[in-house]
Amino acid sequence: MHSPYTVPAIIVVTLATVMIGAYGLRLARTTSDFLVASRLVSPRWNAAAIGGEYLSAASFLGVAGLILKFGVDVLWYPVGFAAGYLALLLFVAAPLRRSGAFTLPDFCELRLGSRRLRKLATAFVVFIGWLYLVPQLQGSGLTLITVTGGSYLLGVLLVGVLVTASVALGGMRSITFVQAFQFWLKLTALAVPALFLVIHWQSDGRRPVTPADGMVFTHQTTVHFDQSAKLVFPDKTVVAHPNEDITFPAGTPVPKVEAVHANDGAGWLLPGQRGLFATYSLILATFLGTMGLPHVLVRFYTNPDGSAARRTTLVVLALVGMFYLFPTMYGVLGRIYTPQLLLTGRTDAVVLTLPSAALGGGIVGELCAALVAAGAFAAFLSSSSGLLTSVAGVLSTDVLGRGSVRDFRIATVVAGMVPIVLALNVSGLDVSQVVGLAFAVAASSFCPLLVLGIWWRGLTDIGAAAGILVGGGAAIGAVLLTVLKVPLPAWANVLIGQPAAWTVPLAFTVMVLVSRATRSRLPAALGSIMLRLHAPDALRALTYR
């Protein structure tokens, strides 16, 4: 079922990325140009670039996969991914831009005047960046297996090396144009096939998503089982052996597989299957985590002033919201046309497999399959290059050198190597869950730092450091326990698997209490810092000297 257009489509996306990058490269002259795109980027370009960078493998593939598996409850993922920009807009966007901070460590130093806090923030930026990069690279490996039959190793290396090279050579200027292009590519790649899929579903007699007498295969389907699996049919049980291919004729009921935790039947359609604690924890992590993601904040510096930062964020909210209408359609139609993914647990591949499964081997089906593959590839390229730029940015200014172009290039290579090696060695992580954990860490460390730093005069450097260490540290501990699959009692599983509901309040509380206890360490220039953050742009000439 591999479309002949897939490989050419991926090559075109890659070439276009490299060429737009090269066009930007000619414009990049000085270090300042290189890192902040000279602040000449208009809000629309900037918003599309932010969207392009933000919509990663987790959004393009993972959301639809989760919906296929779990149903309405996981719609909180895309809603939260979009709502994060509203929180950013309400509490952070304009003051952060006015602060003049380029990265989170910069903000720490500007606001609280502490080099040590800066180092701590750098460590968290690098950790969050890498945590977010690994699933991107794994997603590219998965895509290459699914759409071309290539190997996982090749997919990881291809995307990893390509992204590292383009970031090292092009810097952010080129990345801005590349990212904006990638956003529209990703939107098109999901929207056009979705349109054909819906038309097909209409003409196919509007098959029910949750048929009363259980799901059936709509066409003859051959499933390859990597591991042995127990297939439970309504009337019998069949055991699939490792590396066995089983063919299900059209009309066969879809069996249940015990090892795959998926929702089936009517429960998939109804909310409340995951528990209130997990749901609210997820909401907190995604709503508050976005503002703490390093690659999101870097983009704000390319706005000319605070008002432009606000308008950019609003446009991002519109673009991202528009995008998230589509993964839901794939997840829902996947229930009808690709139920075999529920047997192998490879639900992350639903966006890639659905077009050819539903539309068949005709020209439309093949072109749509190639389009989604190209979009998925764009998702890895854009998110990982944005993440890599910000990780390399802080590494080059705070750890390896003093921020020259040469330092930045060396830092990029170092920053790119680590997640490539990790992605090659760690497997079996669920793309969206790891991304969700990265959000939880960001929400428990940088969100309180930004919100309190911007709105509360009483924050001190020690208070900020304590809050980041306790809240962020607890979230990182939860991530490690989850990733290493340490066995836990049932009550702890919920607290560790979705930690934000307790780590975010913990971080805020520690930050406030320790700041109050260390009141003598308030920065001396507090008044002028607050003036800089909050004075309207029209008054900058008067107030900011």
Binding site: A87, L89, Y280, L314, A318, T328, W455, M530, L531, L542
Partner: protein, 118 residues
């Protein structure tokens, strides 16, 4: 062509003073800035509350009134419509209101600082 301009020394003096109060963080300047920050934070918190109730209330609603999950509109269960479609224009609407009102606050503040009192 020349235009006659009436120069009132008192106005100039006050205009200098208003912006300088702010720049030098005098007591008056500090009061002005705190006022702006309070207005902007109150605006952000009010709009955040709209989202906390409008979206954040949904899981509780679904948990305590399960029949809502089975209500269908245009053949689609209500929670799917609310979370899959309606949430996004809602979020954008709140963001749009914030941008308008926050910029209005800033314009008022700028006018207060720049324009001498009559």
């Amino acid at each position: 062509m020349t235009t006659r301009v009436r120069v009132v020394l008192g106005e100039i003096a006050r205009q200098r003073a208003a912006s300088q109060e702010l720049a030098e963080q005098s007591h008056l300047g500090d009061v002005l800035l705190r006022g702006l920050m309070r207005a902007q934070l109150a605006l952000a918190l009010r709009l955040a509350l709209v989202v906390v109730i409008g979206l954040g209330g949904l899981p509780l609603l679904f948990a305590f009134a399960p029949p809502i999950g089975t209500v269908t509109v245009f053949g689609v269960n209500l929670p799917w419509l609310l979370l899959g479609v309606a949430a996004y224009p809602f979020l954008f609407g709140v963001g749009y209101a914030f941008v308008r009102l926050a910029e209005q606050n800033e314009r008022d503040f700028t006018a207060l600082v720049k324009r001498p009192e009559r």
